[in-house]
């Protein structure tokens, strides 16, 4: 059964020490996980210290609601949608919100968490970001 999927990237607006940023990310993740589980949403979040990339997938209404909620969050800005539409299957079906830690990047050959490219060329970056996240999540598991 198809699901609705949206992929976006945005710039980090969390200020503070690395510990404070970590704490903020953890709080974002725990809120996201409990909300997403209730709303039948799966997805993954990528954070490289400067920018976020996120995949959300699930029923259209639920994705729209969560996306709208995320839009109102001051902890990020410059949201650019990379891809949105029906998807034949869930990529992150096991995860209410998988998290790709920047520290895990080293394990992925020939890929860098360079999100600048995504902001520059949103139209062509959607699938690249999804597969990057897929690799990172698989590597971390």
């Amino acid at each position: 059964m198809g699901v609705y999927q949206i992929v976006y990237c945005s710039k980090n607006r969390i200020a503070g020490s690395p510990e404070e940023v970590d704490a903020a990310i953890n709080s974002i993740l725990s809120t996201a996980r409990s909300k997403n589980k209730q709303a039948d949403i799966s997805g993954a979040l990528l954070f490289n210290g400067v920018a976020f990339a996120q995949v959300l997938e699930g029923p259209l209404d639920a994705v729209e609601n969560i996306f709208e909620h995320i839009q109102c969050d001051t902890r990020h800005s410059d949201v650019v949608v990379l891809r949105n539409g029906e998807s034949p299957f869930r990529v992150f079906s096991d995860w209410s919100m998988a998290y790709a830690d920047p520290a895990a990047v080293g394990n992925i050959p020939n890929s860098k968490i360079d999100l600048d490219e995504a902001f520059e060329n949103p139209a062509t970056s959607g699938s690249r970001i999804v597969s990057l996240l897929e690799q990172l999540v698989a590597a971390a598991a």
Binding site: Y4, I6, Y8, L60, V63, E64, F67, E68, Q71, C72, T74, S77, V79, V80, V81, N84, G85, E86
Partner: protein
């Protein structure tokens, strides 16, 4: 009065009344009576007696019953109406009983729940003050609350800020994605705005895509206002997801602070409006605070607007002409009409100084019509080989009156249609094809020529051009000004393209010998521009013709006779 049920006689189904005879026999009762008196529907049977029925109602207690009976007796004795207010014994809501005569023999007793009426009145009031789409307050509500807040004296550093918010590109969303998506968007906008305001702030939708907030603030908190303005612009500029589609809009915000920018509703709103206008004019997706310079600019604009509205009647417009010259022979073959406004105080103005305003106040079409007529009248007295070129604007083209205006100008002036060339921009050409093509063919049928100007700016594909009837392409100045090699390639390609289609090409804006030399090398023949012939005023025309004649005769002498 034979039916058991009330006929649909009124718009208030809950109306509770009964009709009884002088002998207290009930002959008719309404559907609403049983619920009003909290009695079973069948209790008030026809021909049953009134008093036992009243006594059985839990709404009417003993004291109430006694009072009602007393009132009814009084009414019967006096043969007049009576009324009685009492509190329902069930829920303590006030009930109004009206006793009236019906003819000589019958009485009508009607009960009205005053509490329900008050609630209904409140509901009506609520509706009148609420925006149905978003549930926010509406303009009326906003106006009242702001006026009330402003009526309180602001002491010390206390201030009140008004933010007017206008969505950018909302109309485009409505037009392309439909009203249901537009409505959902407005709801989401209102939800986003609610996340940035506090309990004590007032947010409303004024109508369409206009929202407004007023907030209590203070001199010390001007940073807070800046942050709020920036936050609103940021939030509404973020993508929306509606029915699976990404929707992007923006917002412009104008901010005015009371009392400095206005201490009553009217003046504060005017200031915020000017700030909003300024934010929009500065490129949208911005917030601007009101400053007094805006008021001055607005006054200037208003004055210019008044002057502009009078200019046609006062004959302040005149036409200047830009010569069109053949590169090789240097001979003059055409004159392009250019609008000038002889302003009584500001001097000679060119269209860049007033045409945007003229478009805003819908004066472009009448001015254009005047220019076409006046230019045709003047051109009749020119040497017969000099053509007249008149550019028409998008609004003129869209007005649907262009063909008539051309025909009228030609017949009034008796100008040979073959000497008139109407010039439209490439952009107009691309705007609405079927209508454009139709108009162009109609113009062609009149016998005039058609030129396309600003070519090279609107991305017209060459294949598309093929479907339009036209006689000349005028390339945009930017193709000449820019030294880029690619531009030069376009230029020579268009010249060649024109030659193959059998239409002439012309280059506008030639200012240096170098540009001229390049153009000649590329095969360009016709030019306009300062280098070969500057724009002239009507009085200088005679001199120009004399020179042209001289040049032509020199050319004839210098050129080898054809075989």
């Amino acid at each position: 009065m034979s039916g058991r049920e009330a006929p649909p006689m009124s718009a208030r189904p809950a109306e509770a009344f009964l009709i009884c005879s002088n002998e207290f026999h009930i002959v008719y009762y309404s559907k609403g009576l049983a619920p009003m008196l909290h009695i079973p529907q069948g209790a008030a049977a026809l021909n049953s007696l009134l008093l036992p029925l009243l006594a059985s109602s839990p709404v009417i207690d003993d004291i109430g019953y006694a009072a009602i009976v007393a009132r009814f007796n009084q009414a019967m004795l006096a043969q007049a109406e009576a009324s009685h207010d009492f509190l329902s014994a069930v829920d303590h809501q006030p009930i109004h009983l009206q006793i009236q005569r019906v003819g000589e023999t019958h009485w009508i007793l009607s009960f009205e729940d005053l509490g329900a009426r008050r609630e209904a009145e409140n509901d009506v009031a609520k509706l009148a003050f609420t925006d149905a789409l978003t549930g926010l307050g509406n303009r009326l509500r906003f106006r009242q609350s702001l006026a009330l807040a402003l009526s309180e004296k602001m002491v010390g550093t206390r201030r009140l800020a008004l933010l007017l918010i206008d969505l950018d590109r909302f109309k485009a969303v409505n037009d392309t994605l439909g009203h249901p998506v537009g409505d959902q968007l407005l709801r989401k906008v209102s939800e986003r705005l609610q996340t940035v305001i506090r309990q004590k702030d007032m947010l409303a939708r004024l109508g369409g895509d206009e929202f407004a907030v007023w907030i209590p603030t203070s001199v010390e908190d001007s940073d807070g206002l800046t942050r709020l303005g920036a936050r609103i612009v940021d939030l509404l500029g973020r993508p929306f997801l509606i029915e699976g589609q990404q929707v992007n809009i923006g917002a412009s915000v104008g901010i005015a602070v009371a009392p400095p920018d206005g201490s009553d509703y009217e003046s504060l709103t005017k200031s915020a409006d000017l700030a909003l206008y300024s934010a929009k004019a500065a490129g949208r997706n911005l917030f601007h605070f009101f400053d007094s310079a805006m008021e001055r600019r607005a006054q200037d604009r208003r004055r210019l607007e008044l002057d502009l509205r009078r200019a046609l009647t006062l004959r302040q417009f005149e036409i200047h002409y830009r010569p069109q010259v053949d590169v090789e022979s240097r001979s003059l073959f055409g004159l392009e009409a250019l609008l000038r406004w002889q302003h009584p105080e500001r001097g000679l103005l060119d269209p860049s100084q007033f045409i945007t305003l003229a478009e805003e106040i819908a004066l472009v079409v009448p001015i254009g019509r005047w220019m076409l007529e006046a230019a045709c009248r003047q051109a009749v007295s020119w040497p017969a080989d000099i053509k007249l070129v008149v550019a028409v604007s998008t609004p003129q083209f869209a007005s649907g009156s262009l063909v008539d205006s051309v025909k009228q100008s030609l017949s009034a002036s008796k100008l040979d249609p073959a000497r008139l060339e109407i010039e439209i921009t490439e952009r107009v050409l691309l705007s609405n094809e079927t209508n454009v093509v139709k108009t162009l063919y109609e113009l062609r049928a009149v016998g005039i020529r058609i030129g396309i100007s600003n070519f090279g700016t609107g991305y017209a594909s060459l294949t598309k051009l093929d479907s339009f009837p036209f006689d000349r392409i005028k390339m945009d100045t930017s193709l000449v000004e820019d030294e880029a090699a690619s531009h030069r390639a376009i230029l020579s390609a268009v010249v060649a393209f024109g030659a193959s289609l059998g239409v002439s090409t012309m280059v506008d804006g030639i200012r240096t010998q170098e540009q001229l030399a390049k153009l000649r090398a590329d095969g360009g023949r016709a030019v306009q521009g300062f280098l070969l012939a500057p724009t002239v005023s009507p009085v200088e025309l005679g001199e120009l013709f004399k020179q042209a004649e001289g040049a032509a005769s020199r050319n004839t002498r210098e050129t080898e006779p054809p075989l």
